[in-house]
């Protein structure tokens, strides 16, 4: 022992010196190195991070992907913030015209926009983008891009004729990066073969350094047509877990969080932190119960679905799973929007009524085991509720829904799977992996694509239609809506469609979350909260407006 003590002491001392000297050295260096420039640090969790700059569906579906390309590229136009009433705002296109039949749109581009390499942005770049981007593999596929023809009038004017009458109040060709033709031309048949290391666009920020799984370092594009942005640098930092990310905000390592915000459970941790404000906005996502009408059981019976809707106490879900940060919802259309139908069928929480409906429809507990039986007596009403295991709030909501349905005699088995498996199951309702599911999507204010959820399978609607729902009435209304070219007519059909869904309940819409974003207000101003939080796929405004104090 005596002989070994010095060795132990030596090891301890060495470790001590190494750790603390590195701490002091590295920590000190950082401050002196980066002091002159203003830098906004944005904290993301690994699950939301974009780990490759190759253009693909991750730019559409990963939260960081959605945010990042909007900063590095310009779009023709973008959606306004909440204050503007989500009105279309000019970006590359200074203004636009539309023909009488609402099919031919002409965009007039600004002539002072240049790509990061100095090349001017022209109508040919726009044409190139819209010709090849939707064809990339897998496709950048949106209703917005269903055009019939494109004509470049001159360098700064482009005319696009759509397949269907479009718009009101929004023009088409929304939400796509305008790519530099001279860079992408060689890769036009396979965009994924280009590594796109520099994300060369005409956007407000340029990529300075990209490290997969670690950080993305953006610097201001000083030559931006709209003037240089209010901060010199933005760093997207990636943290291993939600807890770590939250600690980073509290420590001052980060100034705001990405996309989905923080868990409402942790909001108290930020309330007392000096210089941090918490912004709360309604979510862009809407949650619903997705009934699989392909299953040959009680779920197919409208009465059962009605009973389930009555048995679900939405207020309690909001209280428990969202700690109060949410509100009930009943339609695919947000209450804020003009074409929201106030006159739809609603199913307020009433357990007794749910039981009465089930009793009347013949779903009684015939074997006395506390669980109701199917109408034909073929067994218990025992249904699998599919939900993704990766999102804590959804797991909790599903757990509570199962409890509440248990109270009215419907046995619910939770089927919690990872997100990819979840979508794989959900989008193949005909394979019957689930009886009903807790689902969510964010239509956004310009949510025309959303109606595809209800387009009948027999009518070419397979794909988004995760309920295996089929209604000629709905399909007709949808076709009419697509074909009509006045806002009034469109809104009439939109309201009709909402009404049909609320009566048939293929989707039982239940709630909408609130997004909670802690932000550093001590050093920065200009955070813009819209529907869906301080930053998201329709809202790059915070990054565009941010300014150092």
């Amino acid at each position: 022992m005596k002989k070994n003590l010095p060795i132990l002491k030596f090891i301890a001392a060495a470790l001590f010196i190494i750790t603390f000297s590195t701490t002091a050295f590295a920590g000190g260096a950082q401050e002196s190195g980066a002091a002159e420039k203003t830098r906004l640090n944005v904290a993301w969790t690994a699950g939301q991070s974009l780990d490759s700059l190759i253009i693909d569906e991750n730019w559409q579906y990963l939260e960081m992907g959605c945010t990042l390309w909007q900063l590095c590229y310009d779009q023709l136009w973008i959606m306004g913030d909440a204050e503007s009433g989500y009105a279309a705002q000019p970006m590359l296109a200074t203004h636009w015209d539309v023909s009488e039949d609402k099919r031919t749109w002409t965009f007039y581009l600004r002539d002072d926009a240049v790509f990061h390499d100095g090349t001017p942005v022209t109508a040919y770049d726009v044409e190139f983008t819209f010709e090849y981007l939707p064809a990339s593999d897998p496709a950048w596929d949106m209703v917005d891009f269903y055009y019939e023809s494109m004509t470049v009038i001159d360098d700064y004017t482009i005319e696009i004729t759509m397949v269907n009458p479009f718009g009101m109040p929004y023009p088409p060709m929304y939400w796509a990066p305008i790519l530099p033709k001279h860079i992408w031309e060689p890769y036009k048949d396979n965009f994924k073969s280009y590594e796109n290391d520099h994300m060369l666009g005409s956007g407000m920020y340029k990529i300075k350094e990209f490290k997969a799984g670690q950080y993305v370092w953006l610097e201001a594009n000083e030559d931006y047509w709209g003037g240089a942005p209010g901060v010199d640098e933005i760093v997207f930092k990636i943290y291993g877990a939600e807890d770590t990310r939250n600690m980073a905000i509290q420590n001052g390592e980060a100034d705001m969080v990405g996309y989905l915000g923080i868990s409402p459970l942790t909001i108290e941790d930020f309330e007392d932190v000096e210089g941090i404000d918490v912004l709360i906005s309604p979510d862009i996502n809407i949650y619903w119960l997705n009934f699989n009408l392909h299953q040959k059981n009680g779920i197919q019976d409208l009465e059962v679905r009605k009973a389930i809707m009555h048995a679900v106490d939405v207020e309690r879900i909001i209280e428990m799973a969202l700690v109060g940060y949410g509100e009930p919802a009943d339609s695919f259309v947000y209450k804020e929007l003009e074409w929201y139908n106030d006159d739809i069928t609603r199913y307020p929480y009433d357990a007794a009524r749910a039981e009465a409906i089930l009793d009347a429809a013949g779903y009684k507990d015939t074997d006395g085991d506390g669980v109701r039986n199917e109408k034909d007596g073929s067994g218990n009403m025992s249904y699998e509720l599919l939900a993704t295991a990766d999102v804590s709030e959804e797991v909790k909501a599903a757990t509570i829904i199962a409890e509440m349905l248990g109270d009215v005699g419907i046995d619910v088995q939770l089927k919690l799977v990872d997100t990819d498996t979840y979508y794989n199951y959900l989008y193949t309702p005909d394979e019957d992996y689930f009886d009903f599911s807790l689902s969510t999507e964010g239509p956004g204010p310009n949510g025309e694509w959303f109606w595809d959820f209800c387009r009948g399978w027999d009518n070419g609607g397979a794909g988004w239609n995760t309920a295996y729902y089929s209604s000629d009435e709905f399909d007709t209304a949808m076709d009419n809506m697509m074909a009509s070219n006045t806002l009034e007519e469109k809104n009439m059909y939109r309201k009709e469609m909402q009404k049909i869904i609320s009566e048939d309940i293929p989707y039982g819409i239940i709630f909408r979350k609130e997004i909670i974003c802690p932000v550093n207000t001590a050093e920065f101003t200009g955070y813009t909260a819209t529907m869906g939080g301080t930053s998201n796929w329709i809202n790059p405004w915070s990054f565009l407006n941010i300014e150092a104090k």
Binding site: E242, N246, T266, D269, G324, D390, L414
Partner: protein
């Protein structure tokens, strides 16, 4: 591990030595404590662990109503811990039984039959031992889906070979013992020899391995759950941790994150102690040294 079965003729001796072994005693006490929790879980707490509480009791710290506080659905942490002990112990034992059974069978046949059978079985065992365990478990769990029984299967697939190898080496030495030859000479067939002469003498190894497997299972379940591959619909210590990590509120609710960790660690320690005690006792010379 060397095991001398000569020293094990009398169960009484064994237990006497066991209880005078400090680690054995401590381990046994901790183990009994958890068995007690598991057996009397419904009496120790009347709140069912899976039922959510009222909204004003979400994530409250320990108090008179919830002795260890509540989780993010206002469920009682204490009752989750005690009901979780059932799941953890059950999957631990089930896995131990499966792995020890499989491993013993393979080891017994390989060691006894020898020759080409031995060669083939041992190559398979070597192969499995060569595979990186946790990655294999993770991959299997990811591929098979999250369910508590899948976890049992996954851990069993990975863990049986070490038992097989130990049992085989025991069998090889036992096979050379005169009493095995004697019973063969007396007319016993292979099955009788394996089952009645060799197997009983392998029991100590099987026991030690079983103990090890219980700890490894509890450990592995917690790791898999931590990585989000556990079964979120069954309450075990691992899934408690999983929900805690997922909630994002781990840092502010120590009463939620520590109990399952403490339980996992102390149960593993208790089994390590038991294992050490048994190994010590079965080591040749221990009995003499301790003066029995």
């Amino acid at each position: 591990m060397r095991v001398n079965s000569y020293k094990l003729q009398k169960a009484g001796d064994f237990w006497a030595m066991f209880f005078s072994h400090r680690m054995g005693r401590t381990g046994f006490l901790i183990f009994c404590f958890f068995i007690f929790l598991a057996l009397f879980a419904p009496i120790l707490r009347t709140v069912p662990p899976e039922i959510s509480g009222s909204a004003d009791r979400i994530l409250t710290g320990p108090d008179g109503i919830s002795w260890l506080g509540t989780d993010d659905l206002a469920r009682d942490v204490w009752s989750q811990v005690i009901f979780g002990s059932r799941v953890s112990l059950i999957i631990g034992f089930v896995t131990a039984i499966i792995t020890v059974f499989t491993g013993t069978l393979v080891g017994l046949v390989a060691g006894f039959k020898g020759g080409i059978v031995d060669e083939i079985l041992m190559r398979i065992v070597d192969f499995f031992m060569m595979l990186p365990h946790l990655p294999l478990m993770i991959v299997l769990a990811a591929v098979m889906g999250a369910s508590i029984w899948n976890i049992v299967i996954v851990i069993s697939i990975v863990s049986w070979p070490s038992t097989a190898r130990l049992v085989r080496s025991q069998v090889l030495s036992l096979k050379e013992r005169p009493f095995v030859e004697a019973i063969r000479c007396l007319g016993a067939n292979d099955i009788t020899m394996m089952m009645s002469e060799i197997l009983p003498n392998v029991f100590p190894v099987m026991f030690a391995q079983g103990v090890l497997m219980v700890t490894e299972t509890i450990y592995a379940e917690s790791v898999l759950s931590f990585l989000g591959l556990g079964d979120p619909t069954t309450i075990s210590w691992g899934t408690m941790l999983h929900f805690c990590f997922e909630s994002g509120a781990m840092a502010r609710s120590p009463w939620w994150v520590f109990p399952p960790i403490v339980c996992i660690v102390s149960l593993i320690i208790s089994f390590s102690f038991l294992g050490t005690a048994v190994t010590d006792i079965l080591t040749p010379g221990y009995k003499e040294k301790m003066g029995y």
